[in-house]
Subunit: 786 residues, 2 copies
């Protein structure tokens, strides 16, 4: 947990005004900068103290063996883990005889500001060294959205109370020592010294290191160049060794004088290109950045973000903390995906090594819905990455005995990286999740070329998978047995409703896409018999229903099972998976994360309003939210069934997951999907937005604490603004041709410069649902800003 | 596979007349000698060539880490594996300048004979060395049933065609090099150099080594002494180093002269006793054996076995190969359990390192039924071993969140040693299997003291486990959800019928035992409320039934699932678990080993004759017998439903599992449970024997190939002989007071010297059940002896 006040509540900044070393690792994740290609944790410029040093390149990984006490057919033999690459953030500072280290001396002032509009991390320090010299240090760091290979740092130091000898050591360091691995299964594998040196050099203010990985055979280069402003009397000394390139700048500064360096950093990597090619690649990037210059990079960054916010911002009145949190969330979602360019978006983005840097189903299910409506090219890029690993997914399906493609549960480069099949291989829903993201993207953009070139194959191969995994029983029902749905406290169950509805959508969507692209479909070997078999399976898909309870069971047998003894479970026993065996969790009614409730969000039409309310209440009583992927979904459905305060509480949990470190593992990186979830909770929850193919609808309704909610989205080449107040909503079409949409079921037609307002109909919610003992979300009132 | 003719078919011997090096490892298992405390694989005296060197002491093990790609709560962190201890079998021979090694020179004659009446392994060799000297070597080896710590070897060599310089090196060797571990999950972990030397010495013809293990901290000693007969001109030289004690005997032999040594071997080990204590322990054992002498040991062995066969033999007419196989089986079952004395009986006995020397549920379910009726003290000893690990089982239940005791799925010393919980922790039926073995033993012996001191606690703690694992649902049914039954191609299923029937028996048996031993029960904290709760659970135990199919489903959802595509499965794809993921096996109708069919054997009264026939036919079509634990059970039920030829075929498979190496892993040790199963197939199958508490009944009926079957058993202090022919059965009470029993449901009264004959009623079996394509058992005609 991060105890507050840790950050002041500001509209466009996350601003830390005091240093708390006990949550240093958490704040390094929060202050991480990334463009989806490069990720720099918010480590101090001087390297120490640190919680967890981290510099990442998307998809730059190493293999490690996956061990098993008892091996069986189809288990992956090796996993992939992102590695901490060459650290170019390092600028060490010596003041007289003392290294600048906030653990020593006196720290008078400290602030770090993540500036969400300018896309930089600012830091200001006023510090007196143990021998009594007071200095001011100011740094600004950015990872460029516009120049993918570039990061840059402005670092300035000035003495306050007397002259000082100042030494700055600006470095590139490979193979940093990392803290030991945690036992938590959600953490990462730590490989020691994963990088092998190939080239190192420095020259005047320039330095470069090239390394490769031992087993995965990837090659990377990092280079730095410096602009230096300071007194005349100053020396600059470069030096390098295999894992270090260092430029040392020494100066005498009098009060009023300062020393400032601009450090340009360039990264490049490849699995194919030679050492000289990588060398030239980073040199070229560096050259380009130097031409742009520091001010130029800052200006480009601001322009890029201004454009983003103009079609992605969410405005809130009444809850400044959530206002801050949702912009923080959107900023990090953008950072995770902006320049991924046919690379995955890992669960932690590039903010930390958690989950070994793997991408899971949450990318498609939580992150892409946000990007599709705010930065659609980033969604397309992620799906193109899925397409790029289609061959591996086909091979995996074949290995498992199925047709089509079986995408890995967790991966960096396409191979399955999970060592526990009941919660990975068996969770085949990821394939339908990918298909759903494809149809959502195509529906929201009308990107026909993408559908033909990329989406169709994804839809077809996943439909084939479902057709071969399920079977039609003697009663003519299409069953999907023995799979694991989103809820990881159930596994290997028959006819998980979420999975079956997603598979049904997948099968139909593939058949429809085939109709739109007959030639491309033929090239994939699809014929009419095959599409008919998909439609038949979809049409007779078994969706169980518990007549006795009047609810939809999460799977065939779910509601037959014993209800978890919540009364006997103490607060310290959460998360349950750290204190109880999967054996017992799986066979009882206890839910880690929204499963049937997520099905009700994504397949809204498959349930009546009454069923939704009853199901929601039933599952509320069983859901412990031991996953960060739960609160946002619960917020959406709570809002839909009129439980607005509860929805608001869940919004708070999703939005503050990392700012408050609610799951105690923000140190390993941010929960990108939960951050995305806070947008979903607002837009799909209180905005009541639902999309289905090329249609979008809204059923907005606000909770008491929020007096105004406005959000922008991009949809089929239009820019929309929806503004919601307690009693009415106003729809703005800001660009593009007229659009048909729906307000609480009423069809409306939007055209340019013609805002439409509609009243919000009242709703009579049922009794407030109960959560398991002690697991109710924190009432939103208590989240109030300090 | 062992290709035949490998062994000549003899009533009381397993006789190998040719050497086939490709099945050397398999024959080392077949020719293994053991008394349940010491186990010596049938390695050649000279050590090489070998398939797999092996010398074992029951429960002498080392720890090794159990690794997980993804760890979770309750996973055991370390496993245990039996280790290959100091090899005392070694007697190397040099003839002139050539080591005696059958891979070189010319092997004129070779035979090995496992003598089932004398309890020895004989070997005779006529060999010409590469330089042309011909010698005869004869050895006889025994592991004493009467002196637990003792093995002995008579080794004799004589030159045939001219004088020879003969050097015998009789050794104790620790830390032998072992072949690399196989990838088969059924094999073992191989630790290199597991023994640390503490003492080594030789003196004249004596040698001794003492070692301990590194992590488990066990200490063992091995000592040897020799009697030597040879020419006058002979030298004897002892020498030792930390891992070797060697006595070298050198002599010139002329044709007609011979050199013979009797090697007495003593083993001792302890987890507590000091080095001097272990030293003295093996010296004392050795001293005792020398006093008895070689001839004395042979005589004791014969007497012990004569007694055993007098109440355990099975006689067969019409199938000499099965006659040989069932005696071979009984001999090895006896060897596995005779002197275990509160130690486990591992799945492989002490014949090889397979399954790491662990004991599983098959000890109680397959081995103890044989021992209880033929060597009841051995059964009691195994159950006393279970009692000795009760504290660990209580701790495990507590760790898993349950009451009572949860015995480990696989173990040596009581800790869970399985690294894959769906097929281990979830297979809670092992607890009811232990309880069933307790009631069977007490029922067959009337051993009231055992019940009070040992059995009661086992029954009570396992009943408590069931009460806390299951729950009464809203319809008043006691459900046991999410467990794994015997069939390892299904897992984590609700209301596995085998498990529920076994648990029902366990709950009732505990309540009944509590009534018989109120004081001991009180000491265990049992009160009337608790026994009532057991009885209530037992009485409302849910036993699912599929009305549509008219069969008992293996578990709630089993018959809803897709039937495995047997037609598309090729012979090379068996065993399925090596070629298909558990994901797919678990969710389809395909059965590795008898599960519901075993339930019908052990809970005969829970099913009508008609149900049995229908169920049997249904499950025959789904059962692939990828486990050696299946054929015997299928034989029993096939016989009961009148499918006598099929029963006979399954008998052949169970009986020849190791002699034919049907599962291709006899190299790692014998399938003790399958060997026991061949007795069960004969006695419970064609003898139709069933026991229920203190009652025993018979419904004998022979297949065409067997013209006469006679077997002896011990039951409640009586010795019985049952002789079955095609049309009648004759019951003999050979000792003890009159006994009530049943012949095909007709009550009969047996008294001494008063054999009773009864006709065998005809049966009209239904159509012959079908097995999955290609999985029908080999018709017994094709097993005909060569």
């Amino acid at each position: 947990m991060i105890e507050h006040p840790a950050f002041t509540v500001e509209d466009w900044n996350v601003h830390e005004t005091d240093l708390h070393l006990d949550v240093l690792a958490q704040t390094e994740s929060i202050f991480a900068l990334s463009n989806g290609h490069i990720g720099l944790r918010g480590n101090f410029d001087e390297g120490e103290p640190h919680g967890l040093p981290g510099t990442y390149l998307n998809s730059f990984y190493e293999f490690y063996p996956l061990p098993y006490a008892e091996v069986a057919y189809g288990y992956p033999e090796s996993g992939q883990t992102i590695i901490n690459v060459t650290n170019g953030k390092l600028i060490r500072l010596q003041v007289d005889d003392e290294p600048f280290d906030v653990r020593y001396g006196t720290l008078h002032e400290h602030e770090r500001i993540l500036d969400l509009r300018n896309g930089v991390l600012r830091r200001n320090v006023l510090w007196t060294s143990p021998v009594g010299r007071t200095i001011k240090v100011s740094s600004v760091r950015l990872v460029s959205f516009t120049q993918r290979a570039i990061a840059a740092i402005s670092y300035e130091v000035e003495p306050i109370d007397g002259p000082a000898r100042i030494v700055l050591q600006s470095e590139l360091v490979a193979n940093e020592e990392l803290p030991n691995r945690s036992q938590d299964p959600r953490a990462s594998n730590t490989l020691s010294s994963p990088l092998v040196s190939e080239e190192h050099q420095t020259r005047e203010t320039f330095g470069l290191l090239i390394h490769h990985t031992r087993v995965s055979g990837l090659r990377m280069g990092a280079a730095m160049e410096h602009n230096i402003e300071g007194p005349e009397e100053m020396t600059v000394e470069p030096e390098s060794s295999p894992d270090i390139a260092r430029v040392t700048i020494t100066a005498y500064l009098k009060p009023g004088e300062h020393l400032r360096i601009i450090k340009f950093l360039a990264y490049g990597w490849s699995s194919l290109r030679s050492r000289p090619a990588i060398h030239d690649q980073v040199m070229a990037a560096l050259s380009s950045a130097r031409l742009t210059g520091w001010e130029g990079l800052l200006a480009e960054q601001r322009t890029y973000l201004d454009d983003f916010w103009s079609h992605a911002d969410v405005e809130l009145e009444g809850d400044p903390q959530i206002q801050q949190a949702v912009r923080f969330a959107l900023f990090h979602v953008l950072q995770a995906g902006a320049r991924g360019e046919r690379r995955p978006i890992p669960a932690k983005g590039l903010t930390g090594p958690g989950y070994d840097g793997h991408a899971f189903w949450d990318t498609e299910t939580f992150v892409l819905p946000v990007l599709t409506l705010t930065q659609p090219s980033a969604s397309a890029d992620v799906l193109r990455w899925r397409y790029s690993i289609l061959e591996k997914a086909r091979a995996r399906a074949h290995q498992l005995g199925f047709r089509g493609a079986a995408f890995p549960w967790r991966t960096i480069t396409g191979e399955e990286g999970s060592g526990y099949w009941p919660a990975s291989t068996a969770a085949f829903h990821i394939n339908a999740d990918i298909a759903h993201a494809v149809t959502s993207y195509v529906g929201a953009t009308g990107d026909n070329t993408f559908e033909e070139e990329t989406g169709l194959a994804l839809l077809v191969e996943t439909a084939r998978l479902w057709r071969s995994i399920g079977y039609e029983d003697t009663l003519g029902r299409f069953r999907i047995d023995g799979v694991t749905g989103p809820d990881e406290y159930s596994a290997i169950a028959d006819n998980n409703v979420y999975t079956n509805l997603m598979a049904q959508h997948n099968l139909r969507a593939a058949a429809e896409a085939v109709k739109r692209h007959p030639e491309a479909a033929q090239a994939l070997g699809v014929d009419a018999d095959e599409t008919n078999s998909w439609l038949k399976a979809a049409n007779c898909m078994l969706i169980p229903y518990d007549e006795g309870l009047g609810v939809t069971p999460q799977d065939d047998a779910f509601t037959d099972h014993e209800v978890w003894n919540f009364a006997a479970t103490s607060p310290e026993q959460y998360p349950l998976f750290l204190h109880f065996p999967y054996f017992d969790l799986y066979r009882k009614q206890v839910i880690k994360q929204a499963d049937l409730v997520l099905a009700m969000q994504l397949h809204s039409n498959a349930f009546t309003a009454e069923q939704k309310a009853r199901n929601f209440a039933y599952y509320e009583a069983l859901t412990v939210r031991d996953s960060s992927l739960s609160a946002a979904t619960q917020a959406v459905l709570a809002a839909e069934v009129g439980q607005l305060q509860l929805a608001y509480d869940y919004l708070g949990e999703a939005a503050l997951m990392d700012i408050d470190d609610l799951e105690h593992n923000t140190r390993d990186g941010l929960h990108i999907a939960s951050l995305a979830g806070s947008w979903i909770a607002l837009v799909a929850g209180f905005g009541g937005m639902r999309t289905q193919n090329s249609k979008i609808s809204f059923s907005p309704r606000l909770p008491k604490g929020i007096s105004r909610l406005a959000f922008y989205i991009l949809f089929r080449d239009r820019r929309l603004r929806i503004e919601v107040r307690e009693t009415e909503a106003t729809y703005y079409l800001l660009s593009g041709s007229p659009l048909q949409t729906w307000h609480h079921g009423e069809e409306i037609q939007l055209s340019l410069n013609n805002p439409l307002s509609r009243p919000i109909p009242p709703i009579q919610p049922g009794p407030q649902p109960e959560q398991p003992a002690g697991r109710a979300p924190m009432p939103r009132g208590q989240h109030k800003a300090p």
